[in-house]
């Protein structure tokens, strides 16, 4: 029996972890077309390639794509390549309350396209900035954004970018430090707040449909070295449903990755024959110079 004992123990100790080949077909990469559009800006888009789940490395840019924007059946713009997979219009951008179609093609890949709409213009009133100290002695500012919500489903985003200016005491040279401020809201008037670290937060009008609403916003520099005077650029956005669904599902996928007890999240995708997002927003901005 003794001579069989090691064999038995090896058998017991061995299996628990096994590298397996899962039959996930090695399909050709697809075009990934990403574009957010707003009347404040010209058309721009980024085109890259998807990769197999077991591939590593950066996503390849596509530099030879043809990207055309349509208003109905009329081609209104052709984007030209800029750099790092980005394409831009040389002249125009969208207007409010219109739907647009974008089509991208590149040699060797399926033609991809998507249609989405640009929301109506949005206006908002911003309160003065109140400053305080947070739980961990970090600066926490608060302000209120008041806006008129139209009847029907609408979606919003509030985000902020901070800008501080420094002067090097040794060289006397000045420089600008920009950072994404961390935003959140404890307002009970919004019930499905989705926080995106670098993109503020998203919410729907489920609890205030068709009303004038004021949302309380908390803001922290999210940059621990910031002690100097800071200028905050606040962006209040009316985003369309495509953008809202894309952002909330991709944030949720990112947030739950690594949790073995969480159900996998399928990220919203409105690009036919490919991946990505084509979505519009309109925005109101405000600057707090603190």
């Amino acid at each position: 029996m003794k001579k069989y004992l090691p064999i038995l123990l090896i058998g017991i100790i061995s299996g628990c972890e096994l590298v397996v080949d899962v039959d996930i077909p090695l399909e050709q990469s697809q075009l990934v077309l990403n574009s957010f559009f707003t009347p404040d800006s010209v058309w721009k888009a980024k085109v890259s390639l998807s990769r197999h789940i077991l591939d590593d490395g950066p996503y390849p840019f596509v530099e030879d794509a043809e990207i055309i924007v349509f208003d109905g059946d009329n081609a209104i713009d052709t984007l030209t390549y800029d750099s790092l997979g980005y394409y831009k219009s040389n002249s125009g951008g969208p207007v409010h309350n219109r739907s647009y179609t974008i089509r991208a093609s590149a040699p060797g890949y399926n033609v991809v396209q998507s249609t989405s709409s640009c929301p109506k213009a949005v206006t908002a009133e911003f309160s003065s900035l109140q400053s305080g100290i947070g739980e961990y002695q970090e600066p926490v500012h608060s302000f209120t954004v008041t806006f008129n919500d139209a009847p029907g489903k609408d979606f919003y985003q509030v985000m902020a970018i901070g800008e501080s200016r420094y002067v090097n005491p040794y060289t006397g040279q000045g420089f600008v430090n920009r950072f994404n401020a961390r935003l959140w809201s404890d307002d009970p008037g919004i019930d499905d707040e989705e926080i995106a670290n670098n993109e503020g937060f998203f919410f729907s009008d489920a609890l205030f449909d068709g009303q004038t609403f004021s949302v309380n916003v908390k803001m922290s520099p999210n940059y621990w070295g910031t002690q100097a005077k800071v200028k905050y650029y606040i962006f209040f956005r009316l985003v369309n449903e495509d953008l809202y669904r894309y952002k909330t599902t991709s944030l949720l996928q990112n947030y739950t990755s690594g949790d073995p007890f969480a159900q996998p999240v399928k990220v919203y995708n409105n690009i036919d024959n490919g991946f990505g997002i084509f979505a519009g927003y309109s925005q109101a901005t405000h600057v707090y110079d603190k």
Partner: protein
């Protein structure tokens, strides 16, 4: 006047010819007094028969005539009784068990043969067969044996969960002596709570539900505890690798009052405790154990009345404690940390059986049951200086549970051999505590998150009749009506039930059934492990009760009274099922559960093949299931239908026990199942943000083609055991050597993306149990 006398005389003669009397009584084991549930009582003369109910009671009304009764039960020697019946008669029959009675040829047909009954999708596995099959670590497990039946799957590797005909683990009504058991698992689902030594009878119903059952969609597992030997003091027990158990039963008053006590406990913690203490210089202790305790007392008040008091109590407990101190300058700090995890069931029943007449039997039961899960972490620190003492502590605690009080009355009315009527009613008062997290610290007042307590009341009434329309055609039809009151909302449901069999030949019948079911409870689970953290929650005004309809048809064939063969096809629809939303995690306990679920529908269809030999030197079964199970949720998977996690196209089970000699037994089981459906990302692409990003954060988006679109590797496993038994001075002893997963198949438990030894990105599959040998010692006295 003569004519009048003549008419009266003819009527009296006719009445004499058609006069009927009733034979009633009970069928029990001759030596232990245990009820033989479902035994057959058959009159060979009139070819009429019946079967005994859960309490051994039977009633058979026959015409005044000579009677030739045969009383039989699987694994027992049949008894023949002849007499001329001139009045209502009470017969209490005692049968003698045998070990190889399967070789005894029983001629003719009896009432309870597979082809004769209207029951469909119903399997009862003899306890002796359950005990003879190989078991994980030598621990005989009733639910794991039920997993070896067609139409039933076990979920994750090693789990004792049951997924019946596409239903979830919450859709099984698990009854222990008529009391629902909510979480029937020990050791994170690897063992069930049922101690086989304390069990008398197990029946699984997968479809064609009789009207007396309700409250769950997919199955009924009706487990009856032993009543206790009313003749002499007896005992049995076992010593295994992880647990030991002992059962003692006997008469308190012979033939009148008996008891049974059965206990089981694991002892890894006891063995490990000294080692942990020694290695930590006495500062630390940790361990895990589970135990269960079954007790029952039954008392015969008189020949017509009997009362029972039964109780089950079981707990799992994991714990660790650590304490110590250190001195810094003149300051002494004492610290103590404790962690605990505990869950368990209590169920009790007080039952009163009464033979109201020789055709009417009643059973009134009052029950209490409770399932509770409790996890806590506590830390305490005491700082003592020459001038002061200060204390700091915090405690996190998470509690969930369900508690029921119930009262029910069931009646069996057998007016004649063509009808067997059952009717009754029940009321349950539920209290749900679906996950409450609290935090308490030195400087904080109590903080509580999660759902509050929910009270609800459930009501049900039913009536059914097993109606012999003709020798060939028999039907069981009935209706189950139920209602549920929760937070001011009242749900009600009328559930028709129908089952029929048509005898095509004396040994072959065609069967069909239809049943609708309503379930007022949901189980929130997403690990499929039978974890104690699974939450039982009620239907609420916003989350409706689950409903199902199942239709099935098939054939039942009896070959030489030795082999039973059934082939059944079924189609089941389910509505108002709940699933976690995309991204929802039950680790996020601060959210109300109602915000984390989606509601949708399901369907399951397939065919099952089952060949069963219950007795004989070689006995066992062969099962095969071909099935499809899908779910459709408007807000999941873009509204597209997706496979259920436990959708299994092919499922094969072989269970064989062979007894070459009376004191030797070999047994093996082999199972094969199509791989579990899982969601895996197929490709990945770049996420997008169109503005300045200080962190230059790149969001990788993983593309899932669909929910559960991929399959893990197929599951298969061979288990083996060998038992040798010997008579001893005290009674009997046996040794069982077993091997679980004989060829050490690495069956998948879960998968994730990782890297192999060469640094290549791969899917890594984790499995739980390789080959596991076991040895167990059993004894009887």
């Amino acid at each position: 006047m003569k004519a009048i006398y003549l008419v009266i005389g003819l009527l009296a003669f006719h009445h004499g010819l058609s006069q009927k009397f009733t034979i009633s009584g009970s069928v029990k084991d001759k030596h232990t007094g245990e009820n033989l549930i479902g035994s057959s009582i058959y009159d060979l003369h009139s070819q009429r028969g019946t079967s005994s109910n859960t309490y051994g009671f039977f009633s058979l009304t026959l015409a005044k005539d000579s009677v030739h009764l045969r009383v039989s039960y699987v694994g027992y020697e049949p008894t023949l009784i002849r007499f001329v019946m001139t009045k209502d008669t009470v017969i209490n029959v005692g049968l003698t068990s045998g070990t190889t009675l399967g070789e005894v040829v029983i001629s003719g047909t009896t009432e309870d043969r597979i082809q004769e009954t209207t029951r469909m999708g119903t399997i009862d596995v003899p306890l002796s067969q359950i005990k003879s099959l190989p078991a994980l670590m030598g621990e005989t497990d009733v639910l794991k044996v039920l997993q070896l039946l067609p139409g039933v799957q076990g979920g994750s590797e090693g789990s004792s969960g049951l997924y019946v005909r596409g239903g979830g683990p919450d859709q099984n009504l698990i009854l222990l002596d008529g009391v629902p058991v909510y979480n029937a698992s020990h050791l994170f689902g690897f063992f069930s709570v049922f101690n086989a030594d304390a069990i008398n009878h197990v029946e699984l119903i997968k479809g064609g539900f009789p009207a007396r059952y309700g409250g769950r969609l997919s199955s009924v597992i009706d487990i009856s505890m032993k009543e206790g030997n009313n003749q002499e003091l007896k005992g049995e027990g076992s010593i295994g690798l992880i647990a030991s158990r002992i059962t003692v039963e006997g008469p308190l008053i012979k033939d009148r009052t008996s008891f049974i006590v059965s206990a089981r406990r694991t002892y890894i913690d006891i063995l490990a405790r000294p080692l942990i203490k020694a290695s930590s210089e006495g500062d630390e202790t940790a361990g895990y154990y589970f135990y269960d305790l079954n007790t029952k007392i039954n008392h015969k008040i008189n020949e017509k009345n009997r009362i029972y008091l039964s109780a089950y109590m079981g707990d799992d407990k994991a714990y660790s404690k650590y304490k110590g101190f250190y001195i810094n300058n003149n300051e002494r700090t004492d610290y103590k940390d404790e962690f605990g995890l505990r869950w368990g069931n209590i169920s009790t029943a007080l039952r009163w059986n009464s033979i109201i007449s020789n055709k009417l039997f009643s059973n009134v039961t009052a029950t209490y049951s409770r399932y509770r899960f409790d996890i806590f972490a506590e830390s305490e620190e005491k700082i003592t200086t020459p001038s002061s003492t200060s204390k700091y502590f915090y405690k996190d605690q998470y509690i969930s549970g369900i508690r029921d009080y119930a009262l029910k009355a069931d009646f069996d009315f057998i007016p004649n051999p063509s009808h067997y009527v059952k009717f009754g009613a029940q009321a349950i008062n539920h209290l749900f505590t679906p996950g409450v997290y609290s935090y308490r610290g030195t400087d904080d007042s109590d903080t509580t998150f999660g759902a509050r307590r929910i009270y609800s009341q459930e009501f049900a009434a039913y009536i059914e009749d097993d109606f012999m329309i003709s020798r060939a055609l028999k039907m069981n039809f009935g209706v189950h009506a139920s209602g549920f009151l929760v937070e001011g909302k009242f749900y009600k449901s009328i559930q028709p039930r129908l089952a029929a069999r048509y005898l095509m030949t004396p040994t072959l019948s065609w069967k069909a059934s239809f049943a609708t079911m309503t379930q007022y409870l949901h189980l929130l689970t997403n690990a499929g492990l039978g974890l104690p953290t699974d939450l039982w929650v009620p239907a609420t005004p916003t989350i409706k009760p689950e409903q199902s309809a199942i239709a099935s048809t098939g054939f039942a064939f009896n070959l030489k009274n030795e082999y039973e063969l059934t082939v059944e096809g079924y189609y089941k629809t389910m509505q108002n099922l709940i699933e976690y939303k995309d991204g929802a995690s039950y680790l996020n306990i601060q959210d109300n559960w109602q915000t984390k679920v989606e509601v949708g529908d399901g369907e399951s269809y397939g065919a099952e093949f089952f060949l069963h030999k219950k007795t004989g030197k070689v006995n066992g079964w062969l099962g095969y299931t071909l099935s499809w199970t899908n779910r459709t949720f408007p807000n999941l998977n873009e509204g597209k239908t997706f496979p259920y996690k436990y959708d299994r196209r092919h499922d094969v089970e072989i269970a064989i026990a062979y007894e070459p000699k009376p004191n030797r037994e070999l047994a093996l089981t082999w199972v094969y199942g199509t791989g579990t459906a899982i969601s895996l990302p197929k490709s990945t692409y770049e996420g997008y943000m169109d503005h300045f990003d200080y962190f230059n954060y790149q969001n990788n988006i993983q593309y899932y083609e669909g929910r559960n679109a991929f399959r893990m590797r197929a599951y298969h496993r061979l288990d083996f055991s060998y038992t040798t038994t010997k008579k001893t001075k005290f009674g009997e002893r046996s040794w069982t050597i077993g091997v679980y997963n004989l060829y050490s198949r690495r069956n998948p438990f879960f998968m994730e993306i990782g890297y192999d030894r060469d640094g290549n990105k791969k899917f890594i599959q984790y499995s739980l149990f390789p080959i596991i040998p076991s040895i167990a010692y059993r004894f009887k006295f």
